[in-house]
Amino acid sequence: MRATGAAVEGAAGSRRAEGAAALAIAQARRWYWQRISAMVLAICVLAHLAVILYAVRGGLSAAEILGRTRGNWAFAAFYTVFVVASAVHVPVGIANIAREWAGVGERAGVWLGRAVALLVLAMGLRAVVAVVA
C-alpha cells in the first residue's frame, strides 16, 4: 500500500516536474523571441524616428505622405519587416504584463499573446498596403 502510494506520489511529482520544465522552456522561448525581435526593432525604430523627423517638417498631408510611399517597394519591405517584428515583440510584453500585474494565467496569457500578435500583424500589414499599393 505504502509502495503504491509512493509510486502515485512519484508519478505526480514527475508530472509536476515536467510541468515546471515545460513552463521554463516556454518562458525561455518567449524571452528569446522578445530579444531577437528587439534587435530588429532597434534598427527599425531608429530609421522610423528619422522618417518621422523628416516627415513632420512643414506639417503632414496625404499627398506628401502617399507621394513618398505609393509604389515604393523598398519602403514596403522595410515597414513589412517592422510590422512582423512588432507582431513578435508586442504580444510577449503584453502577455507578461497581463500575467504579472493582472493575474492572468499561463494558458490565458498564451491566447492573449496570440490574439495581440494577430491584431498587430493584420492591422500593420493592412496599413502598409494602404500607403504603398
Partner: protein, 124 residues
C-alpha cells in the same frame, strides 16, 4: 504564500527607490502605451485605403495642439523604449560587467534628444 511574498515585494518601497526599478517601470509603461497606440496608428494609416481625401480628413482632424502633444509624447516614449531596450540587450548579450547605472541616464538622454528633435521638427 506566493501572494504574501508578492504583497511584501509590492509594499517594499526601498526596492522602488532605485534607478533600475524606475528604468524597469518606464520601460514597461512606455511599452504598454506604445502597444495601445499601435492599432490606432495602423487604423489611421489604413484611412488611405479609402482614398487620399480620407487620410487628409484624419490628418486635418489630428492637426491640433492636444494631438501634437500626444504625438510628441509617443515619440519620446518610442525613443525611451528603444534606448532602454538596447540597454537591456547590452546588459544581457554585451561583454561588459559591473553595475552600469549610467546606462540608464544614457537611455533617458536619447529620449530627451528625440523629444527636442521632434519638437524642433514640428515648428520647422
Amino acid at each position: 504564500m506566493k501572494a504574501i511574498a508578492g504583497a511584501i515585494r509590492r509594499s517594499d518601497a526601498r526596492a522602488h527607490r532605485h534607478a533600475s526599478w524606475w528604468a524597469f517601470a518606464l520601460h514597461r509603461g512606455s511599452g504598454l502605451a506604445l502597444a495601445v497606440f499601435l492599432p490606432l496608428h495602423f487604423w489611421a494609416l489604413g484611412q488611405a485605403l479609402h482614398g487620399d481625401a480620407a487620410l487628409d480628413g484624419f490628418l486635418r482632424f489630428a492637426d491640433r495642439p492636444l494631438f501634437k502633444l500626444a504625438e510628441w509624447g509617443l515619440v519620446v516614449l518610442l525613443a525611451l523604449h528603444m534606448a532602454g531596450g538596447v540597454r537591456l540587450l547590452l546588459i544581457e548579450f554585451g561583454p561588459w560587467s559591473g553595475l552600469r547605472k549610467d546606462w540608464i541616464a544614457g537611455a533617458a538622454g536619447v529620449a530627451v534628444l528625440a523629444g527636442v528633435a521632434f519638437a524642433l521638427a514640428l515648428v520647422a
